[in-house]
């Protein structure tokens, strides 16, 4: 028998549902959850040292996105978006997003982005620089051992 011990380190982005996010059914429109996935990604990258230099030469390219919706949120809900990485390879990686309501712990949504780095000019894939690699490794998990399937 094998035992696993996970530190469950993650990057957390917080968002409060505003009136402009909800529709006439009083729930946050599903497209807004998708936008939050990209906002959380940008916030994660802001942790990178030399971020300005990074984005001038390197483009973060999204190859695939998926989101599963579990519960709805309403005006005033505080949503925590927990970000983890998985499958960190030389040129590509995945980001996993777990949306929960802060007060109740209710699972709201599960998201996933398959991403890679490309050269801004040539659009050719390039290796993940050590700064980003270290950042991703610090929040990396093995999808096979997670409670949820993203």
């Amino acid at each position: 028998m094998r035992y696993f011990a996970y530190s469950q380190k993650e990057f957390v982005y917080k968002y409060v549902v505003m009136l402009s996010d909800i529709d006439q059914f009083k729930h946050m429109s599903f497209a807004n959850y998708l936008k939050l996935m990209f906002l959380a990604t940008d916030a994660l990258l802001l942790d990178l040292q030399q971020y300005q230099e990074f984005i001038q030469s390197t483009r973060l390219k999204t190859y695939y996105s998926r989101m599963q919706f579990k519960n709805q949120t309403v005006f005033g809900d505080n949503i925590l978006i927990k970000v983890n990485s998985s499958c960190v390879e030389q040129e590509k990686f995945k980001l996993l997003f777990t949306y929960v309501i802060e007060d109740t712990g209710t699972l709201v949504a599960l998201g996933k982005l398959d991403m890679g780095l490309v050269n801004c000019n040539s659009s050719q894939g390039i290796s993940i620089p050590s700064g980003l690699s270290n950042l991703l490794r610090s929040i990396e998990v093995d999808e096979a051992n997670l409670l949820y399937k993203y």
């Binding site: 059914f25 429109s29 599903f30 497209a31 998708l34 936008k35 990209f38 984005i55 483009r59 390219k61 999204t62 190859y63 695939y64 996105s65 998926r66 989101m67 599963q68 919706f69 801004c120």
Partner: protein, 142 residues
């Protein structure tokens, strides 16, 4: 019998859709999916807004999108929409984004829609008015 395809071709890429690198930010495709889906239902399902206000609620369960090619400022984008896996309680809406000028496929997406009873919050069957339309657009796989 061949299935029908609904075409949503009202998208023009503006600067607000582009990112730091001058290409369309992936989020826009997800938002355009929601616009196209609502247009599809509004155009084809009689009194769609009334169905939405009834006890049965349409819920987006899953959204998938594969990004294939970049689009840029000034491009015109169309979306071909059809259905797959029309079951008792759910169906998939398939989206194919293409450049209207070059016909190049830009992205492929899928939304799984389910239906809940708004009072009991239990899964319920697809309303007939909606299902009748969706079945005409169903691509039967295999």
């Amino acid at each position: 019998m061949a299935h029908q395809v609904y075409v949503f071709d009202k998208i023009k890429v503006f600067f607000k859709h582009t990112d730091y690198y001058g290409v369309v930010h992936p989020y826009n495709y997800l938002e355009w999916m929601s616009h196209a889906r609502e247009s599809y239902f509004q155009d084809l399902v009689p009194d769609f807004h009334k169905i939405c206000e009834q006890r049965i609620k349409m819920v987006t369960f899953k959204v998938d999108l594969e990004y294939l090619e970049d689009a840029r400022f000034g491009d015109e984008i169309g979306i071909k929409i059809y259905a797959e896996k029309v079951k008792k309680l759910s169906f998939d809406v398939i989206f194919e984004f293409y450049n209207s000028i070059t016909n190049k496929v830009l992205a492929r997406g899928c939304q799984t829609l389910t239906f809940l009873d708004g009072v009991t919050m239990r899964p319920t069957t697809i309303p007939d008015e909606l299902k009748n339309v969706v079945l005409k657009y169903e691509k039967v796989c295999g």
